[in-house]
Amino acid sequence: MDLNLNNTLPLLIVLSAFIPGLLIFAIPDQREKLRTFLNLGGNLLCLSLIGVLLSGVYAGRVFETRLPLLPNMDLVLNADALSLLFVSLSGLLWLLTTIYAVGYFKGSTNLSRFFGFFSLCVSATAGIALAGNLITFLIFYELLTLTTYPLVVHKGNPASLRAGRVYLVYTMIGGALLLAGVAWLKSLAGALDFTATGILSSLPHLDPLHLQIIFVLLIVGLGVKAALVPLHGWLPIAMAAPAPVSALLHAVAVVKAGAFGIVRVVYDVYGIEFARDLGLTAGLAVLASITIVYGSIRALYQNDFKKRLAYSTVSQVSYIALGTAIAGPIATIGGIVHLVHQGLMKITMFFCAGSLAETLKIHKISEMNGVGRRMPLTMTAFTIAALGMIGLPPVAGFVSKWYIGTGALEVGAYWVLGVLAASSLLNAAYFLPVIYAAWFKPAQQEWPDKPADSRFEAHWMLLLPPVVTASLAMVVGLFANAGFTPLSWVKLISSREYGLTLVPFIPETLLSFPQLWLIILVPLLLASLFWIKPIRPSLGRFACWAAVPALLVGIWLPDTSVTLNWLFFSSVIALDGTTRVILLMSSILWFVAGVYGTDYLKRDKQFGRYGFFFLLCMTGNFGLILNQDVFGYITFFSLMSFAAYGLVIHTASAAALQAGKTYIQWVVIGEVVLFAALAGLAFTGTNPVSGLDNSLQPLWVSWLFVIGFGIKTGLLGLHFWLPRAHPVAPVPASALLSGLMVKAGLIGWWRFMPAGEVELPGIGATMIVLGLGAAFLAVLAGLVQRNPKTLLAYSTISQLGILTTGVGVAFRNPEAWPLLLPALTLYAVHHGIAKGALFLSVGLGNRLAKPGIAGALLWLAVIMPALALTGIPITSGALAKSALKSAVADIDWLILVLPLSAVATSCLMMRFLGLLKEHSAKSEQSAVGIPGILAFGSLSVFVVLLLPLLPQSVGFSEKLYSLPVLWTAIWPVTLGAALYWILRKPLARTTPVPAGDLIVIIETCNRFLFKQWRSFSHCLESRYNAWSDLTARSPIVRVERFASDAEINLRPQPGVVLIAIMLAVALTMVLY
């Protein structure tokens, strides 16, 4: 065999980790520098070799090391795309983990042993990645068990020894089963070299039953490492190991080895289609799904931080198996890419957990309160990773979930979406409290001082790795479609697997007007200034200016669109008629609210934080307005929703916290529903990345959209969070929430549902009914409120009900859409501005109570938007309403009903003014100074002026001032005012409906169910613990007892046994 790079490179990669490992063993413990040098040297060598390999494979060269092992059986190390993916991951994470471990173990003992085995472990992982046939895989797989065992027991205390024992018991049994499976398969099928389409499918005359049994053996063997339920018992216990080990075990080496093995077996040994025909993948998918859900549920109950992460791993790793088992090209992409994505995210989390434990001695979640302030970078990294785990865009986790979801739809496995949804919900349920506690709860104790030798919050070696991995997790999601990301590699793999072309060609229409991105980037960049300490407190002060570019662009820039292929799944942002109007309205409102906020919160200590979330919300808001593609939209949608959480709970009062909880719950549910809907849309659309064809979407997708966006819009029945969350925020934030952010749902409906294209009578009817119901019922609920902000929130529900009705009409009469769209746009803009102004007015406080011209003017400014909502002439309301009426003119009954809603609104507004008066009388001082008042005033002016300037109003504004129109506008207002006059006394006496109305009942039910579930799961948990103990320990004890008894009994009687043998001999002879 002549040696050249082609046939030695894979071996060299394995050796580049192996040899340093061996050398390190020989280094005395004290020679830290030398050891680190060796470690990093091996690391970098390994990485550069991988780099050579990557470029080589990219250039189409074949790398294969083949050493003879047995007759007809070689030891093969082969570099294909899949192995490269894994080997690059492990190489990279090895480097980071090494750096981390060096920092983590400063001043500890037995380090040569640790780092030696550490390197060997990576070497084994590289071997697993590069293994070219099943037996090579098996060899390295077992080697991995051996090399990780010393790492698990490294601490040497009873807990880690137990962990090691359990780990061994599990992995050894798994290894034995795997061995049996491989040996059996070998006797059937020969050399078992991995091939892209599977070995077995090409072989004739194999007994399917045998293959099925073998498959089960293999999967069980691999499933132990991949921690498939019920083979996962070792993993949480193995948390007794040091943090770098946990990181390595969970992110790269062990669980991934199992998952990778499953991928190999399904794709390259059985061949995916063959496996599906044998009915094997379905079982695997079910098993993986159970694991996903089960792991998440168990994670909920862990207080130990690392254990929670461990169960999260159990859950997350099974995505890989799930994606593999779904057996479609897209799901394959999702599964395999999750190999990398989960690695990046989970290793970040473990790094963070280790840093917390090492720097602050925090091991439990209950101890994490306020830790974000002490270690902001670490916790930011953690937050990014956790959000990614939940599946929030644009972090990597979303990409995998997205592909798995759409892939499942592709093959008709709709239930998988349910699993993904459940998992996301559960993920949120166990990660969000951690994030919340870290960032928002006050610290319980004094933290230990920062390390003296470091300028940072922790030793830089502990800080750098998580920051890098978190950034990577972010980057690979954000730029998913760029050529260098794992996703692109995996698409390549999948296309080879299925023989398809999965990388669609998208024309690059780049750089027509990149300025458009400025709108989004400016607030984002400003927000990132939050990390710079000196600027932080004043961040809120200049937050408002971030809205200016949007305003300018909205005014000056012509219609345009920008496509960036490398961003998201190829991002498209566009500015067109409707978008421009919404953008203008938004930017005005952001700016005004920003200015108002500068004034309103100027004495707030957390003003910086407020500014941060304000800017993030702004980014999200502008982003979702402009983004035309699915990924971008949902990214910014989530960004806005989650950032708004920070605004909702800003005051940190009990009510705010309660409201925040409700808010975030509904946000998460909404996200999950939207995920499912968008996945469905993406799959059914002709082109999953861009140019969505909404008209093709199946009915269930539309329904999910109604629900998903309905939550944001406060659709009746899904509105509960809204009256709670909006009032508790600081006044400017409330204005934004009610005026702007709820419109995101509306935009979603327009953009992703086939409005005006397809007739969806059922959906249309439902939306009309719910919309109208909201319009009236919300008024009723609002009337009895005492808090003006709550009242306004109900008013928002009511107004959005009318908008919903409008959308519903569009689904019943698609032909009305060309008229409806501008009308709805106008209405939305009108409502946004007016509602914003009204909310701001609540913050004026006792300034309203001041007599004189100033007070009168102020009151005028308050009454204007209130009247606008009722639709009185010369206000924007009149224009918007008449536009709406003319759009639905064909529907007689609606024309009758709309004025009635105006009556109700008028009544409500009267009540508001009344309340405001009371309110202002009671309040002792106002937080708002001149700038605030100016901002508020300007908004009131806009109420009158803005709408007629908009292009959409062309054709409506002319008709306004005819007498019948005036009449129709005025009589409901009068009627409403009269009604209020009659009802004002009883209303003042009525007990207010609690904010969020029906949610009280729901929450009571929830509490009850949760209690039940809790006791049930507690019971389950204790059972499980007993069981896992049984499997892990007591057989050994029993064996020990048995062995000692038996041996004592046997020893004196060898002769008797001998006699027995002789008798047997004699008898056998007699037989002859």
Partner: protein
């Protein structure tokens, strides 16, 4: 027809005998040691030189040497085929390395004067057994091995080792006598002592069967097949380290090798499938029982000795597997290849392990497992050796033990004898349990006060074990040469092989 090297075949026995005589006569420890090392190296060179002529002689089935020029039925032949060659090779390698170890082990010990002659006589016996082609000659070889082993076990001088040796001697004599009775019956039946002649004549009559069973019982007793293993742990556990190593690695294998010869070649027609299954069952029992007992052992050396009992059980699985293997034509077939591979891997790993334990014993003066907690820091090399060897014994890759187990599994699966698969896997798991019981010692964090009372072990004692362990690992990287070697022979003179 044969190259000149073939004429060196008798030197396989001559060199050890000559070395034994010289060692007995020379009264200088250093000269004896040097002489022994030279002889061991010479022996290895000889065996390696014999590989090539063996390869050239595949048609003849192996190398035959007629001592005294008389030819088989009248005189005694030496015969080497692939199977024997492997054992000779393993013997030569092990002897060289163990001799190096012994030089250091007996450095300051007056027992060396007796050790070396006995050592070389044992080697002579082993080589004799591996090259024998005459059933009575085998008996003499067995006695040579048995008595030399007993004498070596007794070398230690403690009461326990004397008792163990005495028991071993009695068992050995009983085994030899059972064997001799078998020989007598065979001579009565066939009128010849030549292996070749008997295997061509042999049939399944009552006396042949009786002889086979007697021989089997005798050899099984010497191979320590459960339940006839009771003598092994004290004997192997009480002997000096190099002796334990050679006993576990080669001495028990010699009788196993003869069992293979008898069952698959000499008396193949009389070997009933039922009894082969019975042997397999005993083997399986040995695996389970040995592992249990090893786990229970409190002393390290006893643990290792029981591990030998268990590992020997795997070898006996050969018989049921071969019985079912109809395609078996040469020794290169799966089952035999697997067993031989297992034998070699075990020989290397187990001797490495015994050397490691010997070092520990030398260092601490005791080998109680519970009291060995500082071992990782004080005797890292020994523990490392133990670990690598242990991994091979468990059958984990990348070691010879893994390949061996893999081959065995393949043999079992291709013969559709699933129950053996289960036994093998279970055995591996149980082996892991007792091996890791020891390895865990390395990780238990200890306080410093326990780190006292450890003598230094010279590097010359630490390295041979490591070399053996590394060899056991290397064996896991390429199995082909061994299987190729094994397939030499068998065809020509074992036409009766099933």
């Amino acid at each position: 027809m044969m190259g000149p090297t073939v004429h060196l075949l008798p030197a396989l026995i001559g060199i050890p005998l000559f070395a034994a005589i010289s060692c007995l006569l020379i009264n200088n420890r250093k000269i004896t040691a040097c002489f022994s090392l030279a002889a061991a190296a010479l022996l290895l060179a000889l065996v390696v030189n014999l590989l090539e002529p063996l390869r050239l002689n595949t048609t003849a089935g192996g190398l035959t040497y007629q001592l005294g020029g008389w030819g088989a039925p009248l005189g005694i032949d030496l015969f080497v085929d692939g199977l024997a060659m492997i054992l000779l090779l393993v013997t030569a390698v092990l002897i060289l390395i163990l001799s190096i170890y012994s030089v250091f082990y007996f450095q300051s010990n007056e027992k060396a004067a007796r050790f070396w002659p006995l050592w070389w006589l044992l080697v002579a016996g082993l080589n004799c057994a591996f090259t024998a082609a005459d059933i009575f000659n085998i008996y003499v070889a067995l006695e040579l091995i048995g008595l030399a082993s007993v004498a070596l076990v007794a070398l230690d001088g403690s009461r326990a080792s004397q008792v163990a040796a005495l028991r071993y001697a009695l068992v050995g004599l009983l085994g030899s006598l059972l064997y001799l009775m078998g020989v007598a019956l065979l001579y009565r039946t066939y009128g010849t002592l030549s292996v070749v002649e008997i295997s061509s004549l042999s049939q399944a009559d009552a006396l042949s069967t009786a002889a086979l069973l007697l021989i089997t019982t005798g050899l099984a007793l010497k191979t320590a097949l459960v339940p006839l293993h009771f003598w092994l742990p004290p004997a192997h556990g009480g002997a000096p380290a190099p002796v334990s190593a050679i006993l576990s690695a080669l001495v028990v294998k010699a009788s196993f090798y003869l069992l293979i010869r008898y069952w698959l070649e000499i008396l193949a027609p009389a070997a009933a499938e039922l009894t082969m299954q019975l042997l397999g069952i005993l083997g399986a029992t040995a695996i389970i029982w040995g592992c249990l007992a090893a786990f229970r052992a409190r002393r390290l050396k006893i643990l290792v000795a029981y591990s030998t009992v268990a590992q020997l059980g795997y070898l006996f699985l050969l018989f049921p597997l071969v019985a079912a293997d109809n395609s078996a034509e040469t020794y290169g077939t799966t089952a035999i290849a697997a067993a031989m591979y297992f034998l070699v891997a075990h020989a290397l790993a187990k001797s490495a392990m015994f050397l490691a334990v010997g070092n520990i014993l030398t260092a601490y003066g005791h080998d109680e497992i519970r009291r060995l907690q500082g071992i990782a820091r004080q005797q890292p090399l020994s523990l490392f050796t133990f670990a690598i060897a242990g991994v091979s014994l468990i059958g984990l890759p990348p070691t010879g033990g893994f390949i061996a187990k893999w081959l065995l599994l393949n043999a079992a699966i291709s013969n559709a004898q699933w129950w053996w698969v289960a036994v093998m896997l279970l055995g591996g798991l149980m082996a892991a349990v007792y091996i890791f019981k020891v390895l865990n010692l390395a990780f238990i964090s200890t306080s410093l006060d326990q780190a006292t009372g450890c003598a230094q072990v010279p590097l010359g004692m630490a390295l041979p074990g490591l070399i053996l362990a590394v060899l056991a690992v290397c064996l896991g990287f390429n199995a082909e040469w061994l299987i190729d070697l094994l397939s030499i022979g068998g065809t020509a003179e074992t036409g009766t092989l099933k």
